[in-house]
């Protein structure tokens, strides 16, 4: 093993976590801000830090944007009293937030976040672990995310968290199927028979240099998006929280920093999910469909392409927020009906359709 290589990859991994975590924080602020805008309000615009806030233009801008709110929220979670209710199962109660936070962070290693054009013209995908089962890793770990929720629900030893946990697991199983079935057509399309790249996501990104799957397979993209909403427990599928009928859902008995971890993990989920959607359907770090990538050679190109990827991801995160403040929450039976009676048959039909299509017509891009 090349120790230097390992150190660099660990460094990247750390950087990735830092970026995703701070994006999660920013997403919280964005969520509050856009929620305010949608409701005709201004959103957080008061919180300020004494010296930073008094910088003439910049300080006021950041204050009005509500960015300091991030600091305030974070320190609030950090400094609040840690209350552990007497009736909980202490071990699992403490374990649950950890279990909830790790699954959204692990898949980061298989996400190609940028590309670097080398001097010899070859393009290298920037990825920490370019394994050929990348997609499988993501599916495996993101479905572990529900364990955090279920564990929290169980450990809290209280009826509303319990129901939240049960709902989360049922929902996860229902939509996991659709999600898997909606990924398969993409990989079928991208891999010629006998390909060794298998489930590597980098391969998908490379494939999308000219055409994006979002218009090659719009139905697949839609199915994946819906399943993604359900998997991340975001509105309109936030059954596990569902304040109207379950108080706070699975995290009712949690407070202070532990609740903060649940909070962050939800947003980390959203960011990773958005990133995944960008990679699978929106060309990843590729510039625009049917246009050659303008990325310059070397490090600058790598940075630009990474920023472009982040921009795309952010746009999708905004879409998540936008949807949340537009649609009302589904009823639980509606979620189940939608998952099993509509999305699953459609996903199967879509898979069969793509298979038949691929078997009869040679795909355009596979040539």
């Amino acid at each position: 093993m090349d120790w230097i290589q390992l150190a660099i990859e660990a460094g990247f991994g750390l950087a990735f976590i830092i970026v995703v975590m701070s994006m999660a924080g920013l997403t919280v602020v964005a969520e509050r801000k856009f929620c305010g805008f949608i409701q005709g309000r201004l959103g957080p615009n008061r919180t300020t830090i004494p010296i930073l806030g008094s910088i003439p233009f910049f300080g006021r801008l950041i204050t009005r944007m509500g960015l300091f709110q991030l600091v305030a929220d974070g320190s609030k979670f950090l400094f609040k009293e840690e209350i552990v209710p007497g009736h909980v199962n202490k071990f699992y109660y403490n374990l649950a937030p950890i279990v909830a936070l790790i699954p959204p962070l692990v898949p980061l290693v298989v996400l190609p976040f940028g590309q670097m054009t080398l001097a010899d013209g070859t393009i290298r995908q920037l990825i920490i672990a370019n394994v050929d089962i990348g997609m499988l890793v993501i599916l495996a770990f993101s479905s572990l995310g529900v364990y955090g929720t279920v564990l929290a629900g169980w450990a809290a030893n209280s009826k509303y968290p319990f129901m939240g946990g049960i709902r989360a697991s049922a929902q996860m199983i229902s939509y996991e199927l659709t999600m898997g079935l909606s990924i398969l057509p993409v990989f079928l399309w991208a891999n010629v028979p006998g390909s060794t790249e298998g489930l590597s996501i980098a391969n998908i990104v490379v494939f999308q240099q000219t055409h994006w799957f979002v218009y090659l397979q719009p139905l697949t993209a839609l199915l994946f998006l819906v399943a993604l909403f359900a998997e991340t427990n975001r509105a309109p599928f936030d059954m596990a929280e569902s304040e109207t009928d379950l108080v706070g859902g699975f995290h009712t008995e949690y407070g202070a920093f532990k609740f903060g971890i649940f909070f962050v993990s939800e947003y980390a989920h959203v960011i990773v999910g958005s990133g995944l959607f960008v990679l699978l359907f929106l060309g990843g770090s590729n510039f625009l469909p049917m246009l050659p990538n303008p990325w310059p050679v070397g490090i600058p190109g790598a940075i630009l392409s990474t920023l472009w990827f982040i921009a795309k991801t952010s746009a999708l995160v905004f879409f998540f927020i936008w949807i949340r403040w537009t649609l009302p929450r589904f009823r639980y039976d509606q979620v189940m009906n939608l998952g099993w009676k509509m999305l699953l048959p459609v996903a199967i039909a879509n898979l069969v359709f793509v298979m038949v299509l691929l078997a009869t017509i040679t795909p355009v891009a596979a040539q």
């Binding site: 805008f37 409701q39 309000r41």
Partner: protein, 182 residues
């Protein structure tokens, strides 16, 4: 009217409607338009709301233009006050005071602002026009006791009412005038 009920059959959903997608898109349009609209938030401590006439803020006691306290402690406000926020200790005006002809004035007048519901019934019932709900709508303090306003604080908050009734002054004048017309 049961005879006039008209039952309308629910139309079956079209395929597009069954997917929810057109509705979601139109919903997104609405929220997007909202996002771009002018915000209605009033940035409260910086921008104060306009107070409409007849606003019922903090109840206060007022003095007449001569500086006489108008309240005669008839205790009607105490009686009418729905949350029993008012507490009056009546007292006599000592002989020799310039207002001795009014005979009665509150020894102590307390309004518990934490109990007050700003209904304005005290103002409505007051036969002497001595208590008024004014524009002040923010009240805060560090203890419950601090928000029980005594007579001094109520007069300080109330100020002077520029009315020209002078009911008691006229009474005093006629008292001095006596039955001289006969």
């Amino acid at each position: 009217m049961p005879g006039k009920v008209k039952e309308i059959e629910r139309k079956p959903l079209s395929l597009a409607e069954k997917t929810f997608l057109p509705q979601i898109v139109s919903g997104l349009k609405v929220t997007c338009a909202n996002m771009l609209r002018k915000k209605v938030t009033r940035e409260y401590p910086d921008v104060l709301p306009p107070i409409p006439p007849g606003y019922r803020g903090m109840p206060t006691l007022v003095k007449d233009p001569d500086g006489r306290e108008k309240c005669v402690s008839c205790q009607l406000c105490e009686f009418v006050c729905p949350p029993k926020a008012i507490r009056i200790t009546p007292g006599a005006i000592p002989e020799g005071s310039p207002d001795a002809h009014v005979e009665k004035a509150p020894q102590e007048f307390e309004i518990d602002m934490l109990r007050c519901i700003y209904c304005g019934m005290c103002q409505e019932v007051c036969p002497e026009e001595a208590i008024f709900l004014q524009n002040k709508f923010t009240l805060n303090g560090l203890s419950r006791q601090e928000l029980v306003f005594n007579k001094e604080r109520l007069y300080e908050a109330g100020g002077t009412l520029q009315d020209q009734h002078f009911k008691w002054k006229k009474k005093k004048e006629s008292e001095e005038h006596g039955n001289a017309q006969h």
